[in-house]
């Protein structure tokens, strides 16, 4: 099936794949050719797709996917292929987010907490995606 993976900034992938997995808002979901038509919201998480025996990992930060029996379109707000993830930046972001969380624990500001939590989640997910891609 055809995969169209786009963000507002650019086209991430446009290729023929055999299987893929997406971080749905209500849980991960795997997609094989012939899947029933579906529109699903995506959360921050890891996605991968398989071409033959080769598996490719990617990072998705919110978005949508339109699944059709022969085509999957991913509209992500932010997305990166595992190879494009900037590890140093992710590490730095993780540390920053952790510091902010510690700060929030003292101040107790709800909005700051949510922002720091999301930042931490993004950083950790990026690190995970890149780790998985390397382990393969």
């Amino acid at each position: 099936m055809r995969l169209e993976f786009v963000t507002p900034e650019r086209l991430i992938a446009h290729e023929e794949v055999d299987e893929l997995q997406l971080p749905g808002e209500e849980g991960s979901l795997g997609v094989l050719p012939g899947h029933t038509p579906m529109l699903v919201a995506l959360k921050v998480g890891e996605m991968w797709y398989r071409k033959g025996s080769e598996k490719f990992f990617g990072y998705v930060g919110f978005g949508f996917a339109e699944i059709l029996p022969d085509r999957v379109t991913i509209l992500a707000r932010i997305a990166e292929k595992a190879d494009d993830i900037d590890l140093q930046r992710a590490e730095a972001a993780k540390r920053r987010a952790e510091e902010q969380l510690a700060e929030v624990k003292r101040s107790g500001n709800e909005a700051d907490y949510e922002r720091a939590r999301l930042a931490l989640l993004r950083a950790i997910t990026r690190l995970q995606v890149s780790q998985h891609a390397r382990r393969r």
């Binding site: 786009v6 507002p8 900034e9 086209l11 038509p37 579906m38 529109l39 919201a41």
Partner: protein
């Protein structure tokens, strides 16, 4: 008559300037190419997002969505102008044109209450003190404009529109048309054009939705607005580089002309000096 040394100095100065304008032209050309690529790269998302919206639009109540609602004041009421200018100068009439376009909009819509969202230092310098309420200013854009910038620009517009502080939002920017021509665009950002319900075969598909169609619709609409802002930002940046390239090309040619003229005068001066010296020597010899 200017002295020979002064003339040489002058030519050297013009040459140095020429080298700078030449380098700037080259830099602008390479930046332009990248900026153009980025504009093209935004197209797939907009296309796919519209397609997804079209396929769910039949299942949701469009008229209710706050970003689509056409209030009475759309054409006459309060409006926000988001003006995209550049941070840096030396790009010909790029920013002047933008400011003129804003003036034209105000003349065409007299009596409309206008608030401004200014992107770019040059726009702020020109429009910041004209007495219009400034809703937001956004200067010193990063070299690589991404979705985060588009979100930052779109957020206050979406907020004011939903809260009813403005009845419409317009974008004013230079669109990249070709290297020598920029097209001024004033386009309505909000309310969004109604999403057309897809009527072909794809619309007949029964989708599963997770979460509900309405939620997906509500989430996707603002993304489309942001994507439109992103495209405008990138178009504007491509147009800026194109304008700078043309301006610097003209400057390089002008300085070449100037060097030619100056060299001619310098040679004349030199010739005159030599002739005078010969005459002096000859008349000195004759006098003996």
């Amino acid at each position: 008559m200017p002295s020979l040394i002064d003339m040489r100095r002058r030519i050297r100065a013009v040459k140095n300037t020429q080298q700078i304008t030449k380098a700037m032209k080259m830099v602008a050309a390479s930046k332009l190419r990248r900026a153009q690529e980025r504009v093209v790269a935004t197209r797939p998302f907009a296309k796919q997002a519209k397609h997804v919206l079209a396929s769910i639009s039949a299942r949701v109540d469009q008229t209710k969505h706050p970003l689509l609602v056409q209030r009475d004041g759309v054409k006459t009421g309060k409006t926000m102008l988001i003006v995209l200018s550049s941070d840096r100068g030396l790009c010909g009439s790029f920013n002047t044109n933008i400011v003129k376009a804003v003036g034209q909009f105000l003349r065409d819509n007299p009596g409309r209450e206008v608030s401004l969202g200014l992107v770019g230092k040059k726009g702020r310098e020109a429009l910041g003190r004209r007495g219009f309420p400034i809703r937001f200013e956004y200067t010193a854009l990063p070299k690589v404009i991404g979705f985060a910038e588009a979100e930052a620009v779109a957020a206050p517009a979406i907020e004011d529109f939903i809260n009813g502080k403005v009845d419409s939002v317009h974008l004013v920017y230079n669109e990249f048309k070709s290297v020598i021509a920029q097209k001024l665009v004033v386009e309505q950002l909000l309310p969004m054009a109604p999403i057309e319900v897809e009527k072909d075969a794809a619309a007949g598909i029964e989708y599963l939705y997770e979460p509900s169609p309405q939620q997906i619709f509500d989430e996707l609409l603002p993304r489309l607005v942001e994507a439109q802002v992103l495209r405008a930002l990138l178009e504007s940046s491509a147009a800026e580089h194109a304008a700078r390239m043309t301006a610097m090309d003209a400057a390089t040619r002008n300085s070449a002309e100037m060097i030619e003229g100056l060299t001619l005068t310098m040679n004349k001066v030199r010739q005159a000096a030599i002739t005078r010296e010969i005459i002096e020597v000859v008349s000195g010899a004759q006098a003996q």
